[in-house]
Symmetry: C2
Subunit: 438 residues, 2 copies
């Protein structure tokens, strides 16, 4: 049965929610043309008003569950964030036979398996393009365009706030706290930026990408995660001097029959495409058997780019609802029952080159000891910077790029080096990814 | 009515066709899982066998129309190329209520309006992701992901052969004919590479992108088109010296209520992302109101990348057919009757910076005359290279980058300069695009 009108309910009126209101106002007529009938935002659920968002033309409820209970609504847009109320909201909407569009990566990463199964059972759509990489259509690309590919790896800059902070620290020499405040003022970072800084947000997104890429269930505990707070300003400077940039990467790759999932600051040769993606931009690089390498670059945060992804999903769903059918393609690419867990590679086993930064007393023999302890683990040095001590200082910074070594091998060498009398403090360790071939 | 099995018929067994056979063999089981029932390539129509493609497991017809007539077939994949037989084949398939996937840009650009209208009338899908930029999901991105955006402009490297040739000429200093032969041997270029060289192939793709971006009917005569054969090896060298690379770009942009469509070799500052896309890679940069700038980079030609796009479309369609529904989203983004023509910007009016290369007798006053004639049109010089004459030679090469000028303004200045006695031969003119902001 085709519809005369499709009604959309919006739950949550934060940065992205107000962007959705803007896009419906701007492009509502075009959406109606695409869908063959009006697609209207009719009901907004928000605990409070936003001074910058005029909702006078809409039915506004303070209780977001009133939007889900509204029998007129065909599609629920969930933008309240969090994983408890948001879960209840989405589950109730799906139970009621409504289609759902969400930008909530934490919800999808933590409870997406249940929600996808529920959507399948109810024969409705659950879409989440906006949950990863803002305005970049990476979900659609993995879920649909690359359907006939075996994905080998994904590497991405998938937290705009983190990339903005690292870029400004590296290029403008600004302090972490200063850049973070600006990111919050610009609406990139959440009021509580903990998840941006400690890598949790990127890990949630990586979990989603890994499921679409490898056909594994969503597993929020899957990735090894390290935040940008482990990067000191001097690391950015030394990296530059050595021909690298430091990016906060999410990496998902197949290694034999296992999956390697990790989020951490990473040195990348500065001539690689991914190294040139600065500021609030995100990028996702996908390597697969048929296409080879595909790189997508675009804004990973902000009201309108993220709202664009939400509205793209709404349009996909609405084009089907308008014709009386359902876009019942599997939520996670495969039917949930076909998702199969794969063992995780231990991070002890993952090989890479390594960046080591240490402070060493300027005493004879120290460098020989360090070289010998690396050599004991079969690790050679590719590049080394040793600064002469500042006048009067007894200590110097030593920075080393090693050749490839496993996580456990480098850790044994680092533990041994830290025992040297010449060492002051602990050693900073960062992985280096060469991305050969790109 | 849901299906027990979906049967796919393949017409045409060239480079891409054999890639489709490979991907069905490799990923057929995964496609079945995605779709909920087997999706099988059952019938191949090809005038002759390919030694590198084993078709012994398939029903093979020498008459491709036998595939369309096969009542078992749900989805026809058209890879025969050309616009006459291919049109008849696709039209017959649509008339018979079959879904069609094609990689044929010439067909879509020249007769896609009729075919899209026919598909709409018959309630079947017509998909063509593989027609533009090989393995890059640019059609899906424009048609679906950016549905809630007003597109301002598209700029792309959308002919892999042309980019491969320009890259090899610039980086390895190789001769045009030599690189072209290699491109043909590698399967990038067609046996008859005319359309790759003269810009026709890129123009076909640009026509398709412009329709999806601006909601205008497909108009094969829309773009102004210039091929890579207007680029001499010395232009590549001078461009490099001035901090640019030369890329063969397709550009589609809104200018007021008009549309500017053009394909030509273009100087781009070498630090722009699009300038770093080399070899057989393609890229498409889309600027729109909500997302801002989105850049997609990937392989634009080759058997498997293009076959990946074909199989992505097949999967989209099959996921619906398997459930007894149809993916009846509008073929061209909007219903064909909603497409509206926009006037074209005259290329005389399009402003850009310009690269001019000329051969000048080394006589006093020549440079003053050239500068004066540019100045008469209000055009100033941004950069200039003048080489001292080789010993014994009386003529020197002069290369100029101007500031912004319209096509008609620069043409008047060039016509006047060519009248100077000091000028030997005609002036090479290339546009410079700064892509500010990216």
């Amino acid at each position: 049965m085709s519809k005369q009108r499709i009604a959309v309910g919006l739950c949550g009126l934060g940065t992205v929610g107000s962007g959705v209101v803007t896009l419906f106002e701007r492009h509502g007529a075009a959406l109606a043309t695409r869908c063959g009938c009006p697609v209207e935002l009719t009901h907004i659920g928000a605990r409070r008003d936003r001074p910058d968002c005029d909702t006078s033309g809409y039915n506004v409820s303070r209780d977001i569950f009133a939007v889900v209970a509204d029998p007129e609504i065909d599609i629920i847009v969930e933008l309240i964030g969090g994983t408890t109320t948001a879960y209840d909201l989405v589950a109730q909407a799906l139970e009621a036979g409504k289609h759902v569009v969400t930008a909530n990566k934490a919800l999808m990463a933590s409870r997406g398996n249940e929600l996808a199964a529920l959507a399948e059972q109810k024969g409705v759509a659950l879409r989440f393009e906006a949950a990863v990489a803002g305005g970049i259509p990476v979900i659609k690309t993995l879920r649909e365009s690359l359907a006939a590919n075996a994905i080998d790896s994904i590497a991405g800059i998938i937290n705009g706030t983190g990339n903005f902070i690292l870029t400004e620290m590296a290029k403008a020499g600004r302090a972490f706290e200063d850049v973070l405040s600006e990111a919050q003022a610009l609406g990139y970072a959440e009021a509580d930026p903990t998840f941006d800084i400690d890598g949790t947000d990127a890990a949630h997104k990586l979990v989603i990408l890994a499921t679409l890429a490898f056909g594994i269930p969503l597993d929020i505990d899957g990735p090894f995660t390290e935040g940008i707070n482990s990067v000191a300003p001097e690391d950015l400077h030394f990296a530059e001097e050595l021909g690298y940039v430091i990016k906060h990467l999410g990496i998902a790759q197949r290694v034999g029959g296992q999956v390697d999932l990790r989020v951490h600051p990473t040195l990348i040769p500065r001539d690689k495409q991914i190294a040139t993606v600065d500021g609030v931009l995100n990028t996702v690089m996908v390597r697969s058997d048929a296409v080879g390498e595909l790189v997508l670059v675009g804004p990973g945060a902000g009201a309108l780019p993220t709202a664009s992804a939400v509205c793209g999903d709404v349009t996909d769903i609405a084009q089907h609802v308008a014709r009386g059918t359902t876009d019942a393609r599997p939520v996670l690419g495969l039917p949930t029952q076909a998702l199969q867990s794969l063992p995780r590679v231990s991070r002890d086993d993952v090989q890479s080159e390594w960046y080591l930064r240490m402070v060493v007393s300027d005493q004879p023999g120290a460098m020989a000891d360090i070289t010998r302890l690396l050599g004991n683990e079969g690790i050679s040095i590719e590049s080394l910077i040793q600064r002469p001590p500042k006048s009067g200082a007894k200590e110097v910074s030593v920075v080393i790029i090693t050749d490839r070594a496993s996580g456990s091998g480098i850790q044994r060498a680092v533990d041994a080096i830290e025992q040297l009398e010449a060492l002051a403090g602990s050693i900073t360790m960062l992985r280096v990814e060469a991305f050969e071939g790109s």
